[in-house]
Structure formats: C-alpha cells, structure tokens
C-alpha cells in the first residue's frame, strides 16, 4: 500500500477523482479535469495558514472574555454579562444542565481547540512518529465540534431579538459576542487549513498494512468486513 502522493497521484478535494500529476499535462496550478477544483497533493502552506488562523482565534478570544457578550436591562437597571459571568448566573439559578452547556460551548471547546490544534501543528512540525491514528481522531473531533461553539452567539442573538419588552426587560448584544463569533470562525478556518494527511506523511508502518493476501480496502457495516473481491471476511 502506498499513498497517492507516493505514486504521483492526487485526489480532487471536491469530487475525489484521482489524477496523475505530470508537469506536461497540467497548467499551474493544476485543476481537476472533471470538476475543475484546484488540485494539491497537500494543502498549500497548510501549517503556516493554520498557525495564523489559530493565533487570530486566540487573540479574538481575549476581547470575547473581556467585553460583555450582552447587556441585560431589567426595570431600567442595565447590567453587562460576560461569558464566564453568564455561566455563574446560571449556576446560581441552579440551571445546571444549561450552565454546563454554556460553559462547555464557550470555554471548554474553544480552549481545548486551541490546545488540540497547537499540539497537532507542533507534532507535524516536529515529525512525531507515534500515535498517528489518535492524532487523526483528535483532528476529526476538533473539526466536528468547532462549529458548535457558534451556539453561544446564536443564543445571544435570539435573546436580543426576543427580550425587547418595553420598560420591563431588554437584552442587547455586546462587543464580546462579535469577538467570540470571530474566535469560532478563525479556529474553524485554522482546522480547515490544517491538512491531516501531513500527520501520516513519512509513515513507515505501511508494510504491516500490506500483508500478502490482506484486504486493500474494506467495508464496514456493523461487524461485516469485505475483502477486495467482495467476499465477506470473518
């Protein structure tokens, strides 16, 4: 078994079609001949772009916590709410489930994402050889969970639209909400820029995958495995 790159092949990022890259056949930059997406064996400048977006995300996370994400006005008394403050209020109200959801979405997920993407980037740059599979899983988790942090921004927007009850109660969004939204977007862009194939480049353990007679592609549904010729395996 080999990687596409080792065979001089590249898979289209949009449609998956495999193309053989050769200097004479392609204009620069090369495009997929079927769907015309830009082809690249590894995302260009992946590490640099990912670091850049990540730093932007961390920087935006500072004002996101310093400035209020919203202002609550009840009977004329206006009060700023920060992200962490909102959690404490909910906790004191004994709305534990919601407090935990808010805390996870607005503090745990962004911070874990900073740490996880940094670790992945450093591991690629240092050429770590261990736990490639676990790092790939970490990458998947980061990619999947990152966008859910937007829930905080949406909650603020919905509260601001709904709680406009004359003199009784009003909620207005604050600068912190914009900063937090930018944090989420920047870290999503950071994860999108990171090419997970870099985690596996230089993997020398392919021999173990390429045992004679071993399946070279398998399909899973429950516990059913299928060999190359379609016969079910144990």
């Amino acid at each position: 078994m080999r990687t596409a790159a080792e065979c001089g092949l590249v898979a289209c990022p949009a449609c998956g079609t495999i193309t053989r890259l050769s200097v004479e056949r392609f204009e620069v930059p090369p495009k997929c001949q079927l769907c015309f997406a830009r082809l690249h064996s590894r995302k260009p400048m992946s590490i640099q772009k990912s670091w850049a977006w990540l730093v932007a995300g961390v920087l935006a996370y500072i004002p996101a916590n310093v400035y209020p994400i919203m202002y609550t006005t009840v009977f004329g008394n206006s009060e700023p709410n920060t992200i962490v403050g909102g959690f404490f209020v909910l906790w004191e109200m004994k709305s534990y489930p919601i407090a935990i959801v808010v805390f996870v979405a607005s503090v745990v997920v962004p911070v874990l994402k900073f740490v996880a993407v940094s670790y992945l980037l450093i591991s690629i740059q240092r050429g770590f050889k261990h736990s490639r599979y676990d790092r790939t899983r970490l990458f998947r988790l980061t990619e999947f969970i990152g966008r859910w942090s937007m829930i905080d921004v949406f909650v603020v927007a919905i509260l601001a639209a709904l709680v406009q009850i004359g003199s009784v109660a009003q909620i207005a969004p604050g600068l912190g909400a914009t900063a937090f939204g930018l944090t989420v977007i920047f870290t999503m862009l950071s994860a999108l820029a990171l090419d997970s194939r870099l985690i596996w480049d230089g993997d020398q353990d392919l021999a173990s995958v390429n045992r004679p007679g071993h399946i070279s592609g398998h399909a899973k549904r429950g516990n059913n495995l299928y060999a190359n010729d379609g016969t079910p395996l144990a």
Partner: protein, 236 residues
Amino acid sequence: MLGARPSSDDSMTRRVNDGDLVESVLSNLVACHECDLLHEKVAIEIGAEARCMRCNAGLYTNQQNSIDRAVAVGLAALIMFVVANSFPFLQISVSGNSQSMSIISAVFALSSEGQWLLAVVCFGFILLFPLLRMVGLLYILLPLRLHRRLPGTELVFRGIVFLSPWSMMEIYLFGAIVALVKLAAMANIELGHSFWAFALLNVLAAVSLQMIDNHSLWELISESREGEESPAGELV
C-alpha cells in the same frame, strides 16, 4: 508532488505507470482524504460505508442514488425553508407584554445594536448558506432527473462542498432551545409555527444528506456525463 516518480517495486505503482492503462486504473482507485492512502474500490452493499484501513476515515458509501427521492426531499426542504421564514419563530410574554420574533429577527437584533459584522456572518450561517446549498442541490438534481445538465454544474457542486461546514441551521435550532430554557423561569414562552417548520427543515436536511452526500452527488453527475458522451449523445 508534481511530477514525482514512484519507485518500481510496488504492483499498484507499476500498473498505474502503464501508460494507457492509467485512466481505467485510476477510476478504480480512491485516496483517503484524511491520510492519502490509496485503496482499490470494492463493491459494498447498499447502506454500507467503506473506510480507510489505516486511519478509519470514511472513503465512500453506497447510497441508493434515487434522484426522485432526493429531489422530493430537497423540494420539501425548500418549502419548509420558506414556511419557517414566514411565521413567528418564538414568542414570549411577561406580565401582559408580549414580543415575538422570526428567524431573521436574530440577525436584525445584532445589526441594530452595532454588531453588524456579526449580523452579516450570522445571516450567512443561518439563512444564506443553507439556502444556497438547497437551491444548488436542486439545480444539479432536477436537470439530472430530466437527463439534462445546466451550465455551471461543476461550479455549483464545488460551492456545495465548500459551504458544507458553514451552514449552521441545526446549531441555531439548539441555540433557540438553550435560549428558551434560559427564559423559561421568567416568562411565558410560545413556540411559533416557524419553530416547528424549522425543526422539520432540519430533519429534512439531515435526511437529504443521509440520502445523498457530496460524493454520491458527484457520482450522479459523472454518471450523467457518461451518458452525454455516448455515441447517441443528442443531449449535449
């Protein structure tokens, strides 16, 4: 790896290098999008998913490519999108005063208080990108159903792939639920028609994705292209 030369001791490499065989062999290969390992495609049963043997990423699925059903769900989703944006989404009342909002009110609430940048972004995430994806899918599928192809199919396809992570209707729905729980203690809450339409819209969007993911969408497009290139090809 432009113009990289593979070493010769690997059977797969040798076949790939065999000049004219290239195209037919390549169409039978799939590279893992997460670790780049090459696999030969194998037939899998309907509903199954082939996974990378090194990193376990999903390679391809065998979805029942029923254009009819995909079009039906797509149209239903589009109608639900219109319905969800035509009625009140949520309503609260506190001591006689009441206030209702539609889905897009959240965007206006952000822009009216000076958070216009965030308002623009949220407009894209909640309304524009999901709508573009739905319309794009129908733009590709409806002509396929009629054995035709409209110009720019490839561009629309790439747009759908690109927009996938930025379409956040389901997150907005959960955001609404969190907001409701926050307010439940202080106000009377009513769910509007839009709320149910929006919930249904999210279900339809999930079903649609289950029926036809980006890869099988491309399969449909390329199948129709093969039809065009056949000698009979009056459809070009």
